[in-house]
């Protein structure tokens, strides 16, 4: 791994990516106070929803309050974006944690404001976070309608709290406030996954998500400690301006083994620790297993938290501290490898699942892997761009699946639904789903295509990352296949449907089942179920759901032109390259392929201009061709092949929902499909390797505590009594006994005196 990393770095050094131009954040300037409204408005919504809960409001009021506050927050974010200048803005609400020590000559302090660091990276994230949150809240107002008066206020309070936490995470001006947001989104994720709290599987999934995240959080916390100890600050603005930090960055960019040796080992450890946190939050291998289970939560939650926003926090963390990641020769290499492994692994599992929401979950894991790989192969622009496009189309996909789930009484099995898109009232869902699927599959010229492409091309260019590129390319094909497997099975083909197990007397009674039921009417509902199953009528989505789906589908088209705005990497590239995530990727001075089609001439990046001639051979190629030039075609073709295979296997000639041509192929693959369907037994493996031993250990500890630690104490307690019992006979009351004892005692004393006196 180190060798690989060295290759990357030598390539970089050869590419002449100079230290001076490579990275530099302009000094921060004070920003306006109203920026604080962005997190404050969702917090207001939390308070209002809590009041609704306290006063037992039995209407959709909490939803409208939430939508209103979040929309206002989005508007403020837009204003913030329009107010951006070249320099990052700092805006402090109040001092949060402040401990100081040291002498007057060398004052030291641990200082963390409740303050905001606003640069274009912050704007990019907040725009899609608040924008999508508003839309999804609107969707949820209808989706959650069967809980009005029950958990409705609770849902929207947690939902708003999530947006608040996410805003803290993204806008924080220091790592400890980021940590607050980081754990805060974890809490909201916990509360919302466990929304149907009577369902044991939901509770277990919520717990698993929180604990898995905590493992990552420990890494993040230690990383923050180490940054603080080494650089004396946790504030971004001070860290990025720190002399020692810049000096080490200079060593890292020189890239020779002597200069690497000048960076202390503990500084090199920082990115490794931070990345553990990122892996936990963004569901990367080996900490990804919580995300598929998180689908127990209501679908709007899955769309917002577990697809579009929260899970991208890890990408954000690495992008925000991208310079810190340059301080280790192996950190980004590890990120790239983990990302790639995750992308492939999750895609293989996704191919074998039957639950459409889980397929989407695995596809999220897989796409997050892409983003990490993008960061690892030094295209922070590509990674952030993919975050951005993915947020739209994945939210769209989840919401479309959610509409199906909502309408078919919780049915998610793709073997039990077919031709949904053609049913009356379902056309909009079908079409928008198609848009989402095309984006995810990387269908040429759509948003998802451009962003995925940028990562793929860079993987082939960055020296030593060729294998990463090939695996990602294979994964792109698999992605197209499993995405359209869902589409061809569920949304087109012969019309057929079986309601899910949540069908009750009235079809919108309590999706997610045993969720809202009291103790008593349980049996009654079960009885109903059998009776009603025959004349079950699907329940097409209403205006709110349809509106949100259409808006998101339109948005996924609307963001395509953004690809061609600006210099390199389009609008997102502009945003990223003016932030702390800016980094000139190797070969970026080639025509940046996103900008290629419209501005081939002026896309040379400043860094590479001077050294363009002598570095060409150091950079990787795609089968001897320039990856930027050919990757569009290659990835487009791979995507189309995936779609074609899915068409052949899952749509052509299919007559029922349950079977398809793929069934005939499965036996040829032996046990592999079964293994993949069982998620390669990773959960079982973890259970066997960690959970079970820990559980046994805990019981052993408990036993030790009772028997040994406490046992010794009890023994000490018994001892005096036992001693008393043994010598009690001597206190017989008979005079001669005492006399003998006395004589003996005196004798012993005399002996001692004699011995000592000698």
């Amino acid at each position: 791994m180190t060798e690989l990393a060295t290759t990357v770095w030598q390539g970089l050094a050869a590419a002449g990516l100079g230290a001076a131009e490579g990275w530099g954040v302009p000094p921060a300037v004070p920003g306006p106070m109203w920026i604080g409204l962005i997190p404050a408005l969702p917090l207001l919504a939390v308070v209002l929803c809590t009041l609704c809960a306290i006063f037992k409001v039995k209407s959709k009021l909490p939803a409208w309050l939430t939508v209103g506050c979040l929309a206002a927050s989005f508007v403020v974010t837009l204003l913030m974006y329009l107010n951006m200048s070249g320099s990052p803005m700092l805006s402090t609400a109040f001092t949060w944690i402040d401990v100081s020590w040291g002498s007057e000559r060398s004052p030291r302090n641990l200082h963390a404001n409740f303050g905001f660091y606003i640069d274009s990276l912050t704007c990019l994230w907040m725009l899609f976070v608040t924008g999508l949150a508003t839309l999804i809240a609107l969707y949820a107002s209808e989706y959650m309608s069967h809980d009005v008066g029950k958990g409705y206020s609770r849902f929207f309070a947690a939902f708003s709290l999530f947006v608040f936490s996410m805003a803290c995470l993204v806008m924080a001006d220091n790592l400890i406030l980021l940590y607050l947001g980081w754990e805060g989104v974890g809490l909201c994720s916990y509360l919302l996954i466990g929304y149907f709290y009577k369902k044991p599987s939901a509770v277990a999934a919520a717990k698993k998500a929180f604990i898995m995240n905590r493992i990552g959080d420990l890494g993040l916390a230690l990383g923050i400690f180490l940054i603080f100890v080494k650089f004396g600050t946790v504030e971004y603005a001070k860290l990025f301006a720190d002399g020692a930090f810049k000096e080490m960055l200079g060593h890292a960019m020189t890239g020779t083994s002597e200069s690497w040796a000048k960076i202390p080992w503990d500084v090199k450890l920082i990115p490794i620790l931070l990345m553990v946190g990122a892996f936990g939050k963004s569901a990367q291998f080996p900490l990804y297993v919580w995300l598929p289970d998180a689908m127990e939560g209501p679908t709007p939650v899955s769309a917002l938290i577990h697809a579009a926003t929260m899970v991208t926090a890890g990408v954000f963390l690495i992008a925000r501290t991208y310079a810190v990641f340059q301080l280790s020769p192996s950190a980004l290499t590890i990120v790239a490898i983990i990302g790639t492994v995750t992308a492939l692994l999750a895609a293989t599992i996704g191919m074998a699942q039957f639950d459409i929401k889980r397929i989407m979950a695995y596809s999220t894991v897989s796409q997050l892997g892409y983003m990490f790989a993008g960061l690892g192969v030094m295209t922070s622009v590509g990674a952030c761009f993919h975050v951005f496009t993915h947020a739209f189309f994945k939210a769209l996909l989840f919401l479309a699946c959610g509409a199906v789930m909502h309408g078919f009484a919780g049915q998610l099995d793709l073997r039990k639904l077919s031709g949904v898109g053609k049913m009356p009232g379902w056309r909009i869902v079908g079409i928008t789903m198609l848009v989402g699927c095309l984006n995810l599959a990387g269908f040429p010229l759509l948003a998802g295509f451009w962003s995925k492409d940028m990562i793929l091309a860079q993987a082939f260019i960055t020296p030593g990352m060729g294998l990463v590129g090939w695996v990602l390319l294979l994964t792109a094909g698999l992605t197209a296949y499993y995405t359209f497997r869902v589409y061809f099975r569920v949304f087109v083909g012969p019309q057929e449907h079986h309601p899910g197990d949540e069908a009750h007397g009235h079809d919108d009674h309590d999706a997610h089942g045993h969720g809202g039921h009291g103790h008593d009417d349980h049996g009654h509902a079960k009885a109903d179920h059998k009776h009603e199953a025959h004349d079950f009528h699907p329940h097409p989505p209403g205006w709110a759901i349809n509106l949100v789906l259409v808006v998101l589908a339109a948005a996924s088209f609307a963001i395509i032109p953004l690809t061609f705005m600006g210099k390199h990497g389009g609008w997102v590239g502009d945003m990223v390259s003016h932030s702390s995530a800016a980094w000139s990727a190797p070969g970026e001075h080639h025509d940046d392929h996103a900008g290629h089609s419209h501005a081939a001439g002026d896309t040379h990046s400043h860094a590479g201009e001077s050294s363009r001639s002598h570095d060409e051979e150091k950079l990787g190629t795609f089968l001897g061709m320039d990856p930027h030039a050919v990757m569009y075609y290659v990835s487009g073709v791979v995507g189309l092949i995936g779609i074609g295979v899915a068409y052949r296997l899952h749509l052509q000639g299919r007559t029922s929902a349950a079977t398809s041509r793929a069934d005939a192929l499965l036996p040829m693959l032996g046990p592999i499909p079964k293994w993949a369907q069982n998620k390669w037994y990773v959960d079982e493996f973890y259970h066997f390797l960690f959970v079970r031993p820990l559980w046994v250990l805990s019981h052993i500890f408990h036993l030790i505590d009772r028997m040994l630690v406490d046992g010794l104490v009890n023994l000490a307690g018994i001892l005096p009594r036992a001693l008393g019992a043994t010598i009690r006979p001597s206190q017989s009351g008979q005079l001669h006994g005492y006399a003998v004892a006395m004589a003996g005692g005196i004798g012993v004393l005399l002996l001692i005196v004699l011995l000592v006196a000698r």
Binding site: L187, R214, F225
Partner: protein, 551 residues
Amino acid sequence: MILFATILIPLAFAGYVAARPAKEAKSIALVGTLAALAAAVYALTQFNWSESSQIQMRETVDWLRQLGGLGIQRGEVTEWQGGVALSVGVDSVALMLIALTALLGPICVLASYTAITERVKTYYVWLLVLQAAMTCVFASRDLVLFYIAFEFTLIPMWILINLYGSTNRRKAATKFFLYTFTGSIIALAGLVYVVWKVRGPTGVWTFDIGDLQKSAMIVLSSREQGWVLLALLCGFAVKVPLFPVHTWLPLAHTEAPTAGSVILAGVLLKLGTYALFRFAIPFVPAAAYEYAPAIAVVSIVGIVYAGLICWVQTDVKKLVAYSSVAHLGFCVLGLFAFNTTGVSGSVLYMINHGLSTGALFLLIGMMYERYHTRSMKEVGGLGSKMPVWSTFMVFFTMASVGLPGLNGFVSEFLCLIGTFQAGSWGRSPGGTGGNLGFWYAAVAGTGMIVAAMYLLYMVGKVVFGPLREPHGHHGHDEHASTLPADLTAREIGILVPLAALCLWLGVYPKPALDALKAPSAQVAETVKAGRQAAADFGKPPPPPRVLPAIQ
């Protein structure tokens, strides 16, 4: 006078409760504790927070000055040097702990309104006496007064557990008493040794804590310091409790009545950490520094070991009891980092643990009053039946887990970062030097994961999941028929102030941290000076020791 008032008000009301009929007991006790709270709040306003490490509000009443003291006749009055006096005074640490004690007072009384139905008078009398004793421990500036109060807390607590606890109460009470008492006796030996060594050439025995702190580290060799530290740890570590001398705690907690558990977790355990802060470190700083790694290891073992034991409990009260062992491990760890960050975090942890764990015990008590079981096998899924209770439960669990934005996070984070800083970081700007460091913080940090494991396991069982009620339980049984299914206004009223404080200390801990800055820095300074003194010990002829005049 205000400090004496915070001690004497509960004591006076205890007498009044004893004198009045039983049915008035709880009202009088409530008034008494509220009056004490008012006195404590007044003390908070009178304290000069800009000099928070100074001992303020000193009050001294001659008591047993003859005991080792030297009286100098000046006309009519006798001026005393040394000797035992009723001497009180507080710095910000002591004052904040007094405020915590005073806050928990009315809460404990209110929490006992329906739970205690027999021998009501005795109960409230001893509850008030206990509060007076605990306040006295924090306020005293005289070693003898401190020790008397420290030991005296055992008696009311013993009575509360022994008379009002659940089935196994006698064993628990006896074990609690004997275990902590035995430890304290050894600690007394250590303290007496310090006093004996410090006594001046004039033969004056001083028991003034400030004087002892100044002189002890100079007169004790590092070998002696080691033994004194061991002796003090015998008493104070049992009280904290640190692994492996913690086994009295789960039993005592489980058997104690709700208010007893709240006081035990909220204040009594803090007597141990407070005594470590007040005596162990200032008296024997060199030894404390030298053995800090050992103490840290013990704390960390406690964090992980007790945390894992929590995870396999079925008794929810025992789970929270064991969690105290784990939590206090963080507290001691931060204290023995000997830097401003760690010590501030540690002291703040004392307050925060009192609030959040105290609240958890209150909540469990409320559940117990309704279902008469604490077993998570029998009762669970109360989210649907008791939504208000469940909301508070989740809230305080999150405070206990150390979720940022709530109080537990700030102190836990500071303890860990303090531990982390106290390593050999060379000239790194954030390091403070010390003999802990990366691995101590990293392993202790796994406690954060374990805490999430057991606390979410608890919430998952008790709050979430399908509703489970004890067999034959319909609504509520005859015994608790006065209580509705969900919380009453009184119960909500108990929890809201605690929740508000948890939120406040999590979102805006700055005032508290500012107040703790100076005392924490002082600990760091003391340890530095103490190590210097130990290095210089016996080298040059010691300068003549002059005891400072009694203030």
